[in-house]
């Protein structure tokens, strides 16, 4: 079974600075997706970024980028120019690419606080 580990339960960063959230995963699959979701206090789960495992190029979405190391099974999220609105729980998630039974496996989350 796939497992996802987020080793940093809590992190903080000053506004306008850069922060990196770590995620590692364990799988024997070759084709899969990796995701980062953000959960602000509103509780809504919001997709931040998506990475397909077969793509070597790291995904980016505005101030959010990932460092995807397939051999090391590592998928970290970098937030540049942190804003107060980035304060949230961040979840790393893994999903197999093929078949009906491709449920998503989540890490336990990292609580990020952006300080003014």
């Amino acid at each position: 079974a796939q497992t996802v580990t987020q080793s940093q339960p809590e992190m903080s960063v000053q506004e306008a600075e850069t922060v990196t959230l770590s995620c590692t995963y364990d799988t024997s699959e070759s084709n899969y997706y990796l995701f980062w979701y953000k959960q602000p206090p509103s509780r809504q789960m919001i997709l931040v970024i998506r990475q397909e495992a077969y793509k070597q190029q790291n995904a980016t979405e505005n101030r959010f980028s990932v460092n995807f190391q397939k051999a090391a099974k590592s998928f970290s999220l970098k937030i540049s120019d942190s804003q107060l609105g980035d304060t949230a729980m961040y979840f790393c998630a893994f999903m197999k690419q093929m078949g009906d039974n491709n449920d998503m496996r989540f890490g336990a989350g990292t609580r990020l606080t952006v300080k003014p």
């Binding site: 509780r43 789960m45 979840f91 690419q97 009906d100 491709n102 449920d103 989540f106 336990a108």
Partner: protein
């Protein structure tokens, strides 16, 4: 928001009572999911559906059942609620083109 609604948004019930949570989507997605979120565990899959009347178990399915009689509705039932089922429940759909899951707003369930 992928057109997903959940009802109710909050519910308090007593141990031993049946509870049904509803997930409704408006965009005709084939795949739908029910997750629960507990501190220290992230989200864990309860059941999922890959079509009308087609459902299967997830990681934490004990004590839960589901039904999908229409594409747009996916129901989660706790036949006899227990305090261990106090949690936040999320419904999700899988968007077919990108295989990305999008989530509903969640339901907070408290079992006393």
């Amino acid at each position: 928001d992928a057109g997903i609604t959940q009802s109710p948004r909050h519910k308090v019930t007593e141990t031993g009572t049946p509870v049904t949570l509803r997930c409704h989507q408006t965009e005709n997605h084939r795949y739908m999911y029910w997750y629960r979120q507990d501190p220290g565990h992230g989200l864990r899959l309860i059941h999922y559906s890959y079509g009308v009347k087609d459902t299967d178990k997830g990681e934490v399915s004990d004590g839960y059942s589901v039904s999908r009689s229409k594409t747009e509705d996916f129901l989660l039932t706790l036949e006899s609620a227990t305090s261990s089922q106090t949690s936040v429940y999320f419904c999700a759909i899988r968007e077919g083109r990108t295989d990305t899951q999008y989530f509903g707003p969640g339901t907070r369930l408290t079992v006393l």
